[in-house]
């Protein structure tokens, strides 16, 4: 196995190629552009620079239906533009990988600074009900590994899988081993082999049925069950137990790297499969008096965790793209004293 110094974004691109990527379409945006830059140099991959992110996701949607393993990569502004088509891909059951290297928002925000403001957008950004699989690694090696997982989960679930990153991890350089992880092959027959109709309308046996609530209920149930089943293969999280602490600190992505310095004082839980939320958290949380979610947004995951656990969850919100251990300590001390 070769060891290599890679940037986070570059690791995603190289892992994607190894995981079977055939087709990439994207639009330049900081801090995700390096993925596009890396892929244009890969001769075996069809790479398109499109006119915008809407065109990008729709091009990969078509390419995937035509039989190509397909990916796009963007940051918040582009991810916002893709939302309608993400729902569409869920409805048509198209395997895709969508990378979102997060930066500070809303809007143009702070383009070169990391953030975690798109967590809920991953789950709720498109209209209607859908059940996305979302991964959020926190190191270059993990980005590499989870690019394989994202491709595999997309093929297994026939759905667009979101691979989250952030401006910090995306631009981080680390030495990693280029492992050849197993690959899930394509099961969906490519376009041009049958007479199927792929539609975003409510449908049954690939034909639109737009006035029968039962058909709609059945379809959504099918989508939900399928996503849950596949996600069970990827129950990825990291848990650092701490028997002397009664506080469980939940944190993920870039920010979780700073939290490793706190493991003497707190138990740490780091979700990697962000959605559907790994149920293990329920069991782990029972061992601790206090649950604290620390994230680079105004409490997006904290709300989700609170809803799942049915108990109060405290929030440490680190905004503006700056990760400062002193600030984290001050906020944690306040919580410790408060009880």
């Amino acid at each position: 196995m070769t060891k290599r110094l890679l940037q986070g974004n570059q690791a995603i691109a190289l892992a994607a190629v190894k995981a079977g990527l055939n087709f990439f379409a994207g639009y330049p945006i900081t801090p995700a552009s390096e993925i596009l830059h890396e892929l244009v140099n890969q001769e075996t991959i069809k790479v398109l620079q499109m006119e915008d992110e809407i065109a990008s996701i729709n091009a990969i949607l078509g390419a995937s239906l035509a039989g190509a393993k397909s990916m796009t990569a963007t940051s918040g502004p582009g991810f916002s533009l893709m939302q309608e088509s993400i729902g569409h891909a869920h409805m048509m059951e198209v395997p895709l990988v969508i990378v979102n290297v997060q930066r500070v928002g809303p809007s143009t925000g702070m383009p070169t600074f990391p953030a975690q403001g798109d967590i809920l957008q991953c789950k709720y950004g498109s209209h209607g009900d859908y059940f996305p699989i979302v991964f959020y690694p926190n190191s270059v090696a993990e980005l590499y590994e989870f690019t394989f997982n994202a491709f595999n989960a997309a093929e297994e679930s026939l759905s667009p899988v979101i691979l989250l990153s952030d401006g910090y991890v995306g631009h981080l350089y680390e030495t990693i081993e280029e492992v050849d992880y197993p690959i899930s092959e394509r099961t969906l027959a490519p376009l041009g082999t049958s007479n199927r109709h792929f539609t975003g309308l409510t449908h049954e046996d690939s034909m639109p049925v737009t006035s029968d609530p039962e058909v709609h209920r059945k379809l959504i149930k099918h989508l939900e069950a399928k996503q849950k089943k596949v996600s069970r293969k990827y129950n990825n999280y990291e848990y650092i137990e701490n028997k002397s602490s009664d506080i469980l600190l939940i944190t993920y992505g870039a920010l979780s790297r700073a939290a490793y310095d706190l493991k003497e004082d707190f138990a740490i839980y780091r979700p990697v499969r962000m959605f559907p939320i790994v149920e293990k958290i329920k069991e782990i949380a029972k061992k601790y008096k206090e649950i604290v979610v620390m994230e680079m947004n105004a409490g997006q995951y904290a709300n989700e965790v609170e809803r799942l656990l049915h108990r109060e969850v405290k929030l440490i919100s680190i905004m503006g793209g700056k990760i400062d251990l002193n600030e984290i300590w001050t906020k944690l001390r306040r919580i410790k004293k408060g009880k």
Partner: protein, 245 residues
Amino acid sequence: MTKELTYLKYLKQDRLPHQWCPGCGNGIVLKLACLAMEKLNFPKKGTVMVSGIGCSGRSAGFFDLDSVHTAHGRALPVAEGIKLANEELNVMVISGDGDLFGIGGNHLLHASRRNTDITVICISNAIYGMTGGQCSPTTEISSKTLTTPRGNVDTPVNVQALITGHNCFYARSTTFHFNHAMKCIFEALQHKGFSFVEIKSQCITNDGRRRGFKNSYEMLMSYKENYKINNNTNALEHNEIGIIK
């Protein structure tokens, strides 16, 4: 003896009759597409139909081919993705004027610039038919629609200039000029590179009736009167139909 309608093999006959209004031009365009495909002996496996959203956007679902019903305006990037992922496929788009020039207009600008080898048939009824008859990017100046009660004041999009400006195939015809329209599609399908066929078509329910037409026959007759075939030009006048290669 009745002639066997062999072109129907390209349609899912169990889905017929279609759900469009009586007199709608969409059905004529479906038939034209089938006839052109039959004439070229297009294999059903190996041909893919793509539509956007709108009344015309329902077209793809009637074909007995693998087909994709995209989000509103997104037929072109989806079709390009399909074609570029598998160049062996014949990729066709049938969609509306609102879909292709309005919400999807930016994609038209770039798909033609990229000269992707796909054929696009626009059912150009100068209206947003499906949503009740709002003004569209091809609505004529002074035309009354649901959203232009005092007449449209904006210039219709110059599709010919856009497509020919990128040296792509452009043809214009109408649902009245059946054989001519068929020739346009037939030639477009044989063109290597991006080809665009704009077929002026009637929406009686949400357009014609608001503009004083009693039925779609009257609308067809207006195409007969207003449009002249010009086989010998590299820029069609407003009232001309023809092919620019």
